[in-house]
Amino acid sequence: MCDRTILTCADALRLLAQYLDRELGDGDRADFEQHLATCRSCYSRAEFERRLKDELTRLGESHVPSTLHNRIRALLSDVP
């Protein structure tokens, strides 16, 4: 028996952020992905938001200055 819910575009838009943030439960995620598989507009929107989020995630990697490396080493070298 299939108890999938058919989402409207408005439903999908409401769930989009939680989907990209991996905050949806299994059932809602399956319903959402089913909608994306059949709706070009929502698929395009989700792809755009996912790419933008990926770009922001990449900002989290940064060259570490040698001064910070030295501080961490000094911090741990003081350990008894």
């Binding site: 943030d21 755009f48 770009e55 900002l59 940064s62 060259h63 490396h69 961490i72 911090l75």
Partner: protein, 207 residues
Amino acid sequence: MMVSDAPRASRDTAWFEEAVVAVLPELFGTARRLTRNSADAEDLVAEAVARAWQGLDALSDRGAFRRWIHRILANTYTNWWRASVVRPIVESLRTEDSVDESFSLFDQLHQPFLLWFSTPEKEFLNKLLREDLERAIDELPEPFRVAVVLADVQGLSYREISDALQIPIGTVRSRLARGRATLQKALWQHGLDAGLVNTRTPRSHNV
């Protein structure tokens, strides 16, 4: 901050140092976005690492080290935030209710009947520079900026953000929605100013 005086096996120290060095670029990158400058970011990371070392016994699964130390970094920043920036937070919280969370960069850029292999929204993202995104994040009002950094840059869950900021999950979602809309509006304005988009007339349709 000084590290704990409690003795620990040298293999723990070696393991911890190796684990910290492996995640240092992402800790420092996140700290840069949280503090908006390198000197404070170094202080924040150093304090978070010291706290992590002190609390290492609480980490039962060392495979979970990365998420654990990211949570410590977020909590350390939140402690700073509470201690030193109370008034600006109160002022910026007043602006929270006035922000429109419905703005969508996609809605401004998307043209449904173009060829799929090249769309205006893809081209826009391709033209954005790292510094464009950094500036847009740095200029967000404080409560939104912190929520967006913790969720999108650092990758924390709603529950982890809720715990770090000591706010309900509903407020986390609300700040994220408003922060992201504000960020997208700033990127759209930058796109107009820098000539990254063809039109100067924002479209206002909704999906």
